[in-house]
Symmetry: C2
Subunit: 615 residues, 2 copies
């Protein structure tokens, strides 16, 4: 029998019971305290730092000795995944250990397309039954529709049939019917504005949009963290969990449907709508999220050559995937391209098609995986670059996600660091754009060379056997550890930016074209809209083109989902895009190792074939 | 807190626990002892007689005083629905109180149609994935099918997708695909014989047929009692239960899907098949069974003008209605005609179409409801006659269903009764055909007159204030009560046969034709195949035509279901039949009350308009 202890988390004040065989991390999750964890609780990411305010906990583990500094250990800091309560305890969760409060980009450029939704609405007034007209309810509606539309509709969704009789009678035989193809997918007793739901299902974030299907207007949008994060930050951890345990696979899938339902309820509350008004939905996500949500086998995605189970678009009843909207509504899943080029990339290409006005265009969505498409004379070729979670702040000593207190911009002004934090308050760590900025500034100042080595400088110090550049000193942090960029951090960024740059190089080489021919670079995705393009050019992550070549367009995947939601023509276009896109598996590209090694160098580059950058 | 007592049922020897607040009937059901109950446990049908062998039970109720004879009460007979255990008890269930062991007709004439099933099978050998061919699993299969069939297939069922990856790999990339329309509904690793399941869902019985879809051969057939009987024998009781309680509605629906799954498992075991081989199913049933199974609202069916919710045929995923066969399989529900003319009648008309060789044909399915169709020059008109459960032995003093020991045939030979029982053993009661025979014999012998009054005869006696004819005397029954036909029983039969005869008269009158014009009477259904046609003519239930006009064809509804299962053309024909059939609501037919009154008279009749029968 395991014993129970009272536990309290600060500053949220959340209280509950912690079992002795339950780590503080597990307990926090159960109580709804969202503590960050990138490694899934294995003690290796060091992100789940908490401070013991009172009470007794289990002994410090070797993982903690590796991850926690001496002052931290002296101040009772622990990794929540490694510590167990041995009595009642009070725990402080520092801001940087919270996984919520994160900035989630849901905004994007607005829609510009003629609404042509999959569900059409008709007013129907069937006659009441009498002793001589004893037709069934379904027949009354379908006969009336046929008379009105001069075509026969044959099917009524089973759930719609189940509520049809009462709706017909309560509405006094005057209803509105929603038709999809030749199927009645909804009956309403009044003329509701038909709504649609667009979902961009990301590895880290889920963005949801409530759209009026009549005029394609976005009524409300909202983002949430992907709750699967509690199973581990990166896709591969989740794929392996789903592969090893059917139960975990079901749990991972349910986490998504439940979060979508929550978002849907919130969006409706905000807009004064009812989820039953939502007659259609579109989901886009990377292939792994797509498969995890649909409980599809993920073995193929976790081993080379990374073959997905499903590429084709799917039309499924919303209820079959656990989404609670109108009873007969469908969810359309946009098609995937390959194991690591998913429906979100297809949605991005759909959304950005309007801006692809040049002969050579690069469309990229920067994230844990960065998908890049080179479009040349209409021919599309894509790659997926494993840029890793560096831009989410993972594997970076003082990295954090773009939450309150994250340093998002850094400038070196006469050997002094100036920075901007999210929310403008005291700094707690560096988010992706901050790390990118910092290293670009170090490179510009010559503190870091093209190989990434940190040289000497007043702000450079040796600490715990590693060179590091101090962004915010201890003095400024009231005695807490300084925020620094370490040699190891620079290496991490080189790997991330190298993956992206190598992807661009492979695409150019395969198309036989040079970086200078690129007429436009369209950058989508949350991270992509916050980065400083000049910094990205400085370190050679993006080609050295003039600023007017770049366009940062926000959440293009979400925008693509909205387009596919309001327009059947756009949905068709998405299917064509997925068919047309040629996919290059980087690992199989001749000479890739060399291209990648070259791409890790820090410095402006034109992305010519054979060019050595870092000059 | 209710106390528990040990209970034992004989002769089955079934033992268990009986709670004090649980009637013996409820307890028996929980333990799987199928005690007959027609009234749903309200103490009014008197069918659930059991004998207390030892132990103490609650006091005898007024319902029991009405239903149990003095000798029965003296011998500790109780109504199981009225009695509660007050201590450990041993209970004897007499043969006539068992609802199982009943003869269920599953046989019918064999199929004669060209197989043209909805699912077609193709062998597919997609190439394995490589580093340069990283197409998704679904695409591999669909591309290969397209190459082979020169048409594009777009959809793979979600459940099939979920198991596709492992089937493709375990079969070494050589699979068989089952296609329905343009959807892949199954993948198999070997060339299985594709099977289909036909279900005739009756109020009392469920008949199931396992059919080879290649050659339309019936591999196995099996019947079971409809488990909804525990909610009450007649349809209306169940409709009201479903209407009043959503929970009961769900339970009634689940009872059906679970019984179908049991039948399916048994049929497969018998044929050495796997339920996953079953790629298609067809269900026919009366409108009430159809609605109860599909959890459709039944309010309309329970009040005049008896409007169903659904008339159109439905194609639903088997899993959506709880039937466990091949993962992507559909169930086709044949269309209904009206509130009391269901898909089973459509199936009967489909099955009997081959025999409808005369200009005027009567097709009837005799049961609790008797559906009759008059076909004249191809024009079909149907009525539903509320013949009631008399033919199932209900509301008849010594009535019982066609189980072991039921008297099924009766002859009066020189003032002596000869009879035949089912199974040939000792008589326990009269089943429908026995009652029909007995009353026809009484009418022939002049013991009963055309008004139904029992006159004087050596075997007629007054008993408990009622006249009755003794079929089996006390002496022959070792002291147990005599089996008799009472004046009340004759009245019951008059109502039942009157309903049928009135239905035929209305059809003839509406068509403006006389009984003599009928070229053929096709009688389907279990009861219809056991009745003595001569007896039915004698009492005026069927028109007075020569014997070669009648054909008793067995379970035509089941046969129709099988036809619709193996042939898409037949499925289409069924939809046409349902559309073509004109329905007459008897209650609304001018002069119906008079027609009905006239039809209750006992005696041969030609069913001329305005004729007075009983001569």
């Amino acid at each position: 029998m395991s014993r129970n202890h009272a536990i309290e988390f600060q500053p949220t004040g959340c209280r509950g019971v912690c079992k002795e065989d339950q780590s503080i991390l597990e307990c926090a999750r159960k109580l709804g305290v969202d503590i960050l964890s990138l490694c899934g609780g294995s003690g290796t990411c060091g992100k789940c730092r908490v401070q013991l305010l009172s009470g007794k906990t289990s002994a410090v583990t070797s993982n903690e000795l590796d991850r926690l500094s001496v002052p931290e250990r002296a101040n009772d800091f622990r990794l929540a995944c490694q510590a167990y309560c041995l009595g009642d305890a009070k725990i402080h969760v520092p801001a940087e250990s919270f996984s919520t409060q994160q900035r989630i980009q849901v905004e994007g450029l607005e829609l510009s397309c003629r609404p042509d939704p999959s569900v059409r609405f008709f007013s129907v007034k069937p006659p009441r039954p009498t002793l001589t007209d004893h037709r069934a309810d379904d027949q009354r509606v379908l006969d009336e529709l046929e008379k009105q539309q001069q075509t026969a509709f044959h099917t009524v969704d089973l759930e719609v049939l189940r509520e049809a009789s009462s709706i017909l009678r309560s509405s006094k035989w005057e209803v509105w019917a929603g038709i999809r193809g030749d199927e009645v997918v909804g009956l309403w007793s009044r003329d509701i504005p038909p709504l649609g739901l667009a979902i961009d299902l990301g590895t880290t974030k889920i963005a949801a949009y409530l759209v009026d299907l009549h005029d394609a207007r976005t009524l409300a949008s909202k983002g949430a963290m992907n709750p699967q994060i509690s199973f581990g930050e990166d896709v591969m951890t989740r794929l392996v969990r789903a592969k090893l345990s059917g139960e975990d696979a079901v749990r991972l899938s349910k986490m998504i449907s439940e979060e979508i339902n929550r978002l849907c309820t919130d969006l409706c509350a905000e807009s004064g709508a009812d989820p039953k008004q939502i007659v259609d939905a579109v989901v886009v996500g990377n292939t792994a999220m797509h498969h995890l949500f649909l409980l599809l086998p993920v073995h193929g995605l976790s081993v080379s050559p990374y073959v997905p189970t499903v590429r084709y678009p799917l039309d499924l009843k919303a209820r079959e995937v656990g989404i609670r909207i109108a009873p007969g509504a469908y969810v359309h899943f946009l098609p995937n391209v390959a194991g690591f080029v998913g429906a979100d990339h297809v949605a991005t290409l759909l959304a950005t098609s309007a801006w692809q006005t040049h002969d050579v265009v690069l469309v990229m969505d920067i994230g844990t995986n960065t998908e890049i498409c080179l479009i040349r004379s209409g021919n599309k070729t894509s790659v997926s670059c494993p840029s890793g979670p560096t831009f989410e702040g993972a594997h970076i000593k003082h990295g954090m996600r773009a939450s309150l207190g994250a340093i998002e911009h850094v400038r070196l002004v006469e050997d002094r660091v100036e920075y901007v934090t999210i929310g403008g308050g005291r700094p707690v760590g560096l988010c992706g754009s901050g790390i990118l900025d910092a290293i670009a500034q170090l490179r510009l100042a010559g503190i870091v060379d093209s190989s990434g080595r940190i040289g000497d400088h007043a702000l450079v110090r040796d600490h715990n056997g590693q060179r590091e550049f101090v962004v915010v000193g201890e003095d400024e942090r009231a005695g807490r550890e300084a925020i620094t960029v370490t040699q190891q951090d620079v290496r991490q960024l080189q790997l991330a930016k190298g993956a992206i740059a190598a992807g661009i190089r492979v695409l150019l080489e395969a198309a036989g074209c040079s970086g200078e021919e690129i007429g436009m670079v369209i950058i989508g995705g949350a991270f992509g809209s916050y980065i400083d393009i000049a910094s990205a050019i400085t370190i050679g992550m993006l080609p050295d083109l003039s600023p007017d070549h770049f366009i940062q367009v926000g959440n293009t995947a979400g925008l693509g989902a909205k387009l596919a939601l309001v327009s059947l023509a756009k949905r068709k276009e998405a299917a064509s895009i997925a068919r047309e896109v040629a996919y290059i598996e980087l690992a199989a590209f001749p000479g890739f190792a060399q291209i990648f090694a070259q791409s890790t160098l820090l410095g402006r580059a034109c992305f010519h074939s054979g060019e050595t950058n870092g000059n």
